[in-house]
């Protein structure tokens, strides 16, 4: 892989020589990648290639797995996120995450979105919180559908609405980066289209990294694409280049459906 053709002028996050181990097993092998501000970056690759593992090391969610160990350097705005001085709570407030399966809390829609701002003390008064919740729901494209039933349980929404609620929940703490781990894999095509539309609208406000199995989706929503295979980063470049003119044989085989 060559760095020359990558136009990441202003990296938001930068990974250098990252390895991730689960016990003795190495899941990620020497991955270096820059994630651009204002860009949507897609991680693609076959199941078990380590793309989700790598994503979870970007906000240190791997810390919750006792056997996981991360080596190498990952920076957010030039700051090492694995340094002892880094507060993981603040890191996760700056690098939000949306999971594969919608996981709203068994609370009201309002409280789901208000949860993050409350614990971080972003809303001194109820009126402030109202504003934050409304803005997050509007940005997530959910406001019109739920504005009359904010006090109903978040788990009562449809799958697609739940996932947009989770995105609103992540937006509400005003992060700089949003990590999405196969956010549409549990959704039907219509809900998927809405999420993709939402990603388009969010682009430019946040750095977005999305892991996906769906290559058309990567092609539709992202500007940069990274192809992972067997724990290594095979190729990284502009999405149009990766899909129309891949440099590596393995990338070509994957996107033409030869394996994976």
């Amino acid at each position: 892989m060559t760095q020359d053709d990558l136009i990441i002028a202003d990296p938001k996050m930068r990974a250098q020589g990252v390895n991730v181990f689960y016990g003795d097993k190495q899941a990620i092998n020497d991955v270096s990648i820059d994630v651009g501000t204002d860009l949507v970056t897609a991680f693609i690759g076959p199941s078990g290639c380590g793309k989700s593992t790598f994503l979870r090391s970007l906000n240190r969610m791997n810390d919750t797995v006792a056997s996981a160990k991360v080596t190498g350097r990952i920076e957010l705005d030039g700051e090492d996120i694995y340094a002892p001085s880094m507060d993981v709570v603040q890191l996760r407030a700056r690098v939000g995450m949306v999971f594969q399966k919608p996981n709203p809390f068994p609370k009201s829609i309002y409280d789901n979105v208000g949860y993050g701002p409350r614990i971080h003390g972003l809303a001194p008064s109820k009126a402030d919180l109202d504003v934050i919740v409304e803005r997050a729901l509007v940005r997530a494209g959910l406001w019109d559908e739920v504005k009359d039933r904010l006090l109903e349980s978040g788990t009562a929404l449809s799958g697609g609405q739940q996932q947009r609620l989770c995105i609103a929940r992540a937006i509400a703490v005003d992060p700089e980066v949003i990590l999405m781990d196969e956010p549409c894999s549990a959704l039907d095509p219509i809900a998927t289209a809405k999420i993709e539309e939402l990603i388009h609208e969010l682009r430019g406000k946040y750095a977005i990294v999305i892991v996906t199995h769906n290559m058309q989706q990567a092609a539709r929503v992202s500007q940069r694409t990274a192809f992972f295979h067997l724990g290594t980063l095979v190729e990284y470049g502009k999405t149009t280049d990766i899909f129309t003119n891949p440099k590596q044989e393995r990338t070509k085989d994957y996107i033409t459906g030869r394996y994976g």
Binding site: T64, R92, F99, F105, K107, I119, V173
Partner: protein
Amino acid sequence: MTFNAAALLLLIAGLALIGWIAGRQRSNLLAGRAGTKLHSRPQYHGWYVALWLFAPAALFLAVWSSVSPGLITNEVLASEAAESLPAFGFERGAILSDARSVAQGKQDAVRLPAAAPLVEPYAAAAHKYAWIGIAAMLALALAGGLYAFTRIKPDFRARTRVERIVMAVLLLASLVAILTTFGIVLSLLFESIRFFQLVSPMELLFGTNWAPQSGAPVDDTFGGIPLFWGTVLIGAIIAMIVAIPIGMMTAVYLTQYAAPVVRRWVKPILEILAGVPTVVYGYFAALTVAPALREFAVMLGIPNASTESALAAGIVMGVMIIPFVSSMADDSINAVPQAMRDGSLALGATPNETIRQVLIPAALPGVMGGILLAVSRAIGETMIVVMAAGLSANMTANPFASVTTVTAQIVKLLTGDQEFDSAKTLAAFALGLVLFIVTLLLNIAALRIVKKYREAYE
């Protein structure tokens, strides 16, 4: 010749074994002769014969064992020698049982002279019925065995039949517990109805004076409120104040913070604590906790401090319930999906915030169900309150005073020499019925909540 049920059971078991071998042989033989394959493997034919031989005979044996003593006694009473017997009553029973013991060889000679002429008729009747029983049983066994034996053919579906019989046996086994419960409820109900003919249910449920006396029922002495209050104070208030916070904190520690090694040790130890006999908790409460609490209360200058206090019983009962609450809470917290925890942590919540604001609220229905079950156990608990809470029916909110509970009063009403049909004794059954209904309702509510909660995450 006496009728020995155990020996006869062995006999028909032996016959069944022979039937098994014969059935197996015959099926092989028939298949060989016809040159076809058996539908069922030979041992199923064996089992089919054995079951037909054994089951009807064993059933008859069980019925006959319970019916024949009555038949024998009737026969003896019908004899000439019985005409001189006294009329119904204790003496008549004693003479009959004396004669029976001699006739069965349990005793060398009669103790009551009046029994002597009855020994001979007794022995004769016993002999006769034993032979009738044995003959009938053997006839049944052979008939059953022969019936099954003649049905054996290569295409006979012995396996299906045997499996159906096995299923019926399993069904019967599961019915035993249910029918027993049903029987217990009925007996409680009948005795309670007898009580309520003497004392009105309103009196028991809403009366405030509890001072049952032997002899004729006295008005206003069967008021259950002081007992219910004592039960609630100890089992639902004090015990839960101890058990809920400690049990919850234990569960949170074990599920969220404890290293796997700690969890591996602490969980089994907690489970052992749940297996300590309640009588041991009882004397711990009575001999250690209660005196200490009394001294403490006297030091504080609290009046009416007793060595038997609601507090001592309640605290120890709470300790007893801790493993129960912690294990239910542990299960509920573990049942909250990992995705919930991840979602909260990914928003930058600390583990502590995640537990308090996401995990515990999500686990709450399950925990509530567990607490209701714990309450139902606590109010039905007997030994600790008998030993430590006292027997005086006080209506007091002072936890250092002595109170009494429904279970403690049931024990008091039924122990010692009691006439079995006085209102005082019957009151125990009525109290038992009330307790049964309350715990039943609590259990139903708890199971419903827990079930609904499980569905929410599946």
